[in-house]
């Protein structure tokens, strides 16, 4: 069944129109990849789905489980089950990683999780992500390296358990090992009840993942959809062949 359905989406940032009639359907149990050159609108798509107020929807609809979410506030969309991993996660002084994730979890589920069980879940996920356990009591992202911030995003994805996880260039700026860890996290997360939308430049993050669809986004529109082979072709030949 359709989890996310985007119809004829047009958005602008400032005076500039970025998405120019984008359509996308994502079903439960699927992993989708969006690739495209800089400025094509990849991050705009992620930010628009989460209703970042800097991005204005001109036309079109975004449905989650059949319900139009395009007018909801970001926090409501998150509580409906959409998660976004940020390109540049924010630093929040004065609150620890553990307390932050626990707080977010309580907001999303509406109940405070049992501290000890929850802490165990978080530390287990940290182990899987090769993320030093001592970071659990450090201030949220403060003084973290780029790789650690991204691991923290994946940790939140695993622990908050959204229906749809959008990864906005989570692999950019990471070394090979860190990319592998992120891919491992995605693999741990993905199941038949949720879906993943990976926005990326590269193909390394896709290795070992069971990708269902690869979409090519150029100038605000999806111009081609295919299997993971399409990603390999892009890696080889670039985007020029898709430009008309």
């Amino acid at each position: 069944m359709k989890l996310l359905e985007i119809n004829n989406l047009r958005t602008k940032v400032g005076d500039k129109e970025i998405l120019k009639g984008l359509n996308l359907n994502i079903n439960k149990g699927e992993i989708h990849v969006i690739m495209g050159p800089n400025g094509a609108g990849k991050s705009t798509l992620a930010n628009t789905i989460l209703h970042n107020p800097e991005y204005e929807i001109l036309e079109g609809s975004i449905l989650l489980d059949g319900e139009d979410i395009s007018k909801l506030n970001t926090d409501e969309i998150a509580r409906k089950g959409i998660f976004m991993s940020f390109q540049s996660p924010e630093e929040i002084p004065g609150i620890s990683v553990m307390n932050f994730i626990k707080y977010a979890k309580s907001k999303i589920t509406g109940e405070t999780p049992n501290y000890f069980e929850f802490r165990e879940e978080v530390t287990n996920n940290m182990k899987e992500l090769d993320f030093k356990e001592s970071y659990i009591s450090r201030n949220m992202n403060v003084g973290f390296s780029g790789g650690e911030k991204k691991k923290n995003e994946i940790l939140q994805m695993l622990t908050l358990k959204p229906k749809l996880a959008i990864l906005d260039e989570t692999d950019s700026g990471l070394d090979v090992d860190a990319i592998r860890t992120v891919a491992k996290g995605i693999k741990m997360f993905a199941n038949s009840e949720n879906a993943v939308l990976i926005i990326t430049h590269g193909t390394k993050i896709l290795q070992g993942l069971d990708v269902d669809y690869v979409h090519v986004l150029i100038d605000g529109k999806i111009v081609q959809t295919g299997t993971s082979k399409l990603a390999n072709m892009i890696e080889e030949k670039g985007y020029d062949i898709f430009r008309q």
Partner: protein, 466 residues
């Protein structure tokens, strides 16, 4: 992005009034007769009466400060400087009249006393109505009593230390304080005695158009240690009230004193308070200060490091909302070798509130091999609020490590978006950021005060302490 409303600091929990009942309320205004009448009411010894009369002269000679917030709303002719409550001095809460006892119950004082304090003093308007300390401290020779009792029972100590750290002519309100002082606490901790649990004095001003002028004098003798907590609040009235207290702290050789304050005066209060500590060789003076209330506050605690290796630390936060002008800061004088001063100050302003951090670091030529570091950070929650930093550094020795860091910031829309993408509402996101900003200060406060501070900021972060 649309603008967010953060809760106004909720001082309403302190805003309950009792009838303005009193045993005696002096006529408004300040004359020689009022000072003499206060002295008569308090049954002062002659030497104290002379100190008061001299201070009145000094008060009349001094002018208002030419810097800082405008004090024109303060009219001494409209202030009653002495209000004697309908209560004696009790050593059990049963003996405190019900309406006054209820006031302190609502402020949580007796409860804190049972659970976490070694002694409590409670002042209502101009007089201390309750004072008590645990027996074992009494047996160790610790003295904790109201200032009037100290004048009567320990005149030699009071003569030696009263208005010595703060000279009468320090500024106009120090002189005013000296002329009309009433109530406050006197603490003496003998050599080598470690007071494990804190002592706490709470000051409540109930009477409208009046002033509170309590005097706190603490002497921590050689090698001894103490944590002293001071709290204050008042219900809100439409006319100006005045608080001009004075705190004098003496930290002897190798002694340790921590002085924590949470100030929640109502928004018709002029808080013109003076606090000074003199620290001797190897002594440590720590200040923890939360300033939330008052219409205008001018408060600059000061540590004078007179002995080799003396240390001081100041950790403070101010939160100014609409109609508030909080001009706070800290002064450190390094006047001996190997001394150190560490200042960590934060301020938050919103709804047109103004916070100014005004500081002095003075290092005399004696302060060789010393260190001073000042860090102040301000957060403005909207475009109409104001934040300012006015540091004065007067360094007279090259042999000192000195650093000063100031940051003024606003909350970025990106941070709010990030938090909202985690299911956190805009209001909660803002609260989380503000609380996180204040956390390095709130964690230094005694637990019940840290909780109070979080309530004050209106944060509803479940389970995020610790």
């Amino acid at each position: 992005m649309k603008k967010t409303i953060v809760k106004e600091v909720n001082t309403n929990i302190y805003d309950f009034k009792n009838e303005d009942e009193y045993e005696y309320k002096i006529e408004k205004g300040l004359t020689k007769d009022t000072v003499l009448e206060i002295s008569r009411q308090k049954d002062d010894p002659e030497w104290m009466r002379d100190i008061r009369l001299n201070a009145l002269k000094v008060y009349n000679e001094l002018s208002l400060p030419t810097w800082g917030p405008d004090l024109k709303e303060l009219n001494m002719d409209e202030i009653a400087t002495y209000v004697k409550p309908k209560s004696g001095k009790a050593s059990t809460w049963e003996d405190v009249p019900d309406n006054i006892k209820d006031t302190f119950e609502r402020l949580g004082i007796p409860e804190a006393e049972r659970e976490a304090l070694a002694g409590v003093g409670a002042q209502y308007d101009s007089e201390v109505v309750y004072h008590s300390m645990r027996m074992e401290l009494m047996a160790q020779g610790v003295i904790y009593t109201d200032m009037e009792t100290a004048v009567r029972d320990y005149p030699d100590i009071v003569k030696e230390y009263f208005m010595k750290a703060v000279p009468v002519n320090d500024h106009k309100f120090a002189a005013l304080h000296t002329a009309v002082w009433s109530g406050g606490s006197f603490v003496y901790v003998p050599k080598g005695i470690q007071v494990e649990m804190p002592l706490q004095s709470y000051f409540r001003l109930n009477s409208p158009e009046s002033g509170q002028f309590e005097h706190t004098l603490i002497i921590v003798d050689e090698g001894a240690s103490l944590h002293f907590i001071e709290g204050c609040s008042a219900p809100k009235y439409s006319k100006i009230n005045l608080h001009a207290g004075c705190v004098e702290l003496y930290v002897k050789k190798g002694a340790y004193l921590r002085y924590s304050t949470i100030e929640n005066w109502s928004k018709n209060m002029m808080n013109l308070n003076t606090k000074k500590a003199i620290v001797e060789e190897g002594g440590t003076m720590e200040w923890v200060s939360g300033s939330f209330g008052s219409h205008i506050s001018m408060l600059y605690p000061m540590s004078i490091l007179n002995g080799k290796g003396a240390k001081t630390e100041f950790t403070g936060i101010s939160f100014a909302g609409a109609t508030q002008n909080l001009d706070n800061g800290f002064k450190a004088v390094l006047n001996a070798p190997n001394t150190s001063a560490v200042v960590n100050s934060k301020s938050i302003s919103k709804n047109g509130g103004k916070c100014t951090y005004r500081s002095l670091v003075k290092a005399t030529p004696n302060a060789t091999n010393s260190k001073a570091s000042v860090s102040c950070e301000s957060l403005m929650l909207d475009d109409i609020s104001v934040s300012d930093t006015i540091p004065v550094n007067d360094i007279e020795t090259p042999d000192i490590e000195f650093s000063h860091e100031a940051k003024i910031g606003k909350i970025s829309d990106k941070t709010i978006f990030y938090l909202m993408s985690r299911g956190i509402s805009e209001k909660d996101a803002l609260a989380l950021i503000v609380r996180g900003f204040a956390y390095p200060i709130s964690k230094e406060l005694p637990l019940e005060y840290a909780v109070e501070m979080n309530n004050l900021i209106g944060l509803e972060l479940e389970g995020s302490i610790g």
